[in-house]
Symmetry: C2
Subunit: 237 residues, 2 copies
DNA sequence: CGTAACTTTGAACATCCTCAATGTGAGTGG
DNA sequence: CCACTCACATTGAGGATGTTCAAAGTTACG
């Protein structure tokens, strides 16, 4: 679970393939190159602490496999999960030299770590440079906009239903099963993402389950039954 | 108020200064140029409908003066205000050929309208092109991230307090008075932005007022008194 | 099996939404 | 200038929803 007992730091990660300028799209190809690598592919176990908010920002990341969570700890000690990131999502700083959030691996993860010099130095082709920054910004904008839309819902059930649809859609995008939806994060993480409490999240799962809109196979796998109702949970549900 | 009775369309706007490639920063300068203008400066009255969601996206905008609101009307008829935009903020589509939101002038406004061709055609310098797109994406990311943070608050009073601080900070940024905070939008707009109801917004104003954290001079101008408490409204306030 | 982390449920209380009524201020026409 | 109107803001009451604190159930893993 995010932030409670972080058993690993990213130093435990295994470094693997290097990434070169013309393969910035990331997943798969690794041509022979003379120039310095743009970044590395790394793997890390669930619970791994990738970076902390306010740390100097040395790298930009992109998820290849697994789920990453970004979050913020407020002055009063409460926590806000600012996003869940999946295959192809970027995360990290782009115009800042310190991290604005913390990041943690929710499942075992594979990520690309792009070196900071990649988007600040001149020996990298402008095209790759601007392309990757545009993609990263766009990715972060989309994450934040979807998050705000979810949070804008009036009831917790509506937000949770929207969240399940989000999980399903993202799973489909990366070619995984979209209907028995896998839920890799805890109720605490979901609560801090949706602006509510784990108890409320749990009760809404129960309510959606009992009313036949979803079927909870296990706490971390639900089958979506009634997509129509799921996408429009009314007030007195 | 956003979306209820739109008295004006943007066709009522007055076209003025043209914008050229090397003055993309927007506000102020207007050099003599040979190339096609990047865009125009337009003014429009409060209530003006700038564009509607799903409309073909012909322009990117930037606020020079006034307050603009962007919003989304959901299938069930409810409305979500996705952002309030002030001087120097960009709004509009960047990677889409249809508008993702609607936009409306909340006060009398002056905006720059950048033509779509500016960021799709080759006769505009790459530098200006990429620069303006980066700035616009960054502006939208910031708007969405701040919005999500506000919406993540547990109580309406906390969200409203955060919103007042946001208004004050943005006013200071553009050189206007930061302490008697001007509130250009209605309680309905604030409610749809904060994911609550106008009645709740009104009650929270009253509560913050009575407890001496703010002083309501008029419904659309409040003086922030206790900044410390305002930025950390506890649960049983 | 036994522990630890996570999930679910219960009960009491706080907050919020809904519906309804009243208050307020700007603009309009007599 | 004075009603009158209209949109917006505020307040009240009752019911729905959500939070808190506490306890019991579940699962994974040593």
């Amino acid at each position: 679970m995010l932030t409670m007992h972080t058993k690993f730091s990213i130093n435990a990660a295994v470094r693997a393939t290097e990434i070169y300028p013309d393969s910035f799209s990331g997943v798969g190809d690794q041509p022979e190159r003379h120039s310095r690598p743009l970044g590395h592919i790394e793997t890390m176990p669930a619970g791994c602490n990738i970076y902390m908010q306010d740390d100097p920002a040395l790298s930009l990341f992109r998820v290849i496999d697994g789920t990453v969570g970004t979050f913020l700890v407020m002055e009063n000690g409460s926590r806000r999960v600012t996003g869940f990131l999946y295959e192809s999502d970027y995360f990290g700083p782009i115009f800042s030299d310190r991290h604005r959030f913390s990041a943690e691996a929710i499942t075992d993860c594979t990520v690309v770590r792009y070196n900071r010099q990649m988007w600040t130095s001149r020996d990298v082709p402008d095209f790759a440079q601007s392309q990757i920054i545009l993609e990263a910004l766009r990715s972060e904008r989309k994450t934040a906009e979807e998050h705000a839309l979810l949070l804008g819902g009036l009831t917790t059930c509506a937000k949770l239903a929207g969240f399940l649809l989000h999980l399903s859609r993202r799973a489909a995008q990366r070619g995984e099963t979209e209907n028995p939806v896998a839920i890799p994060m805890t109720r605490y993480d979901i609560a801090d993402f949706l602006g509510t409490t784990p108890e409320s999240v749990s009760r809404c799962f129960t309510k959606l389950n009992r009313s036949g809109v979803i079927r909870m196979d296990t706490p971390d796998s639900v089958t979506l039954i009634d997509w129509r109702r799921l996408s429009n949970i009314p007030r007195g549900f």
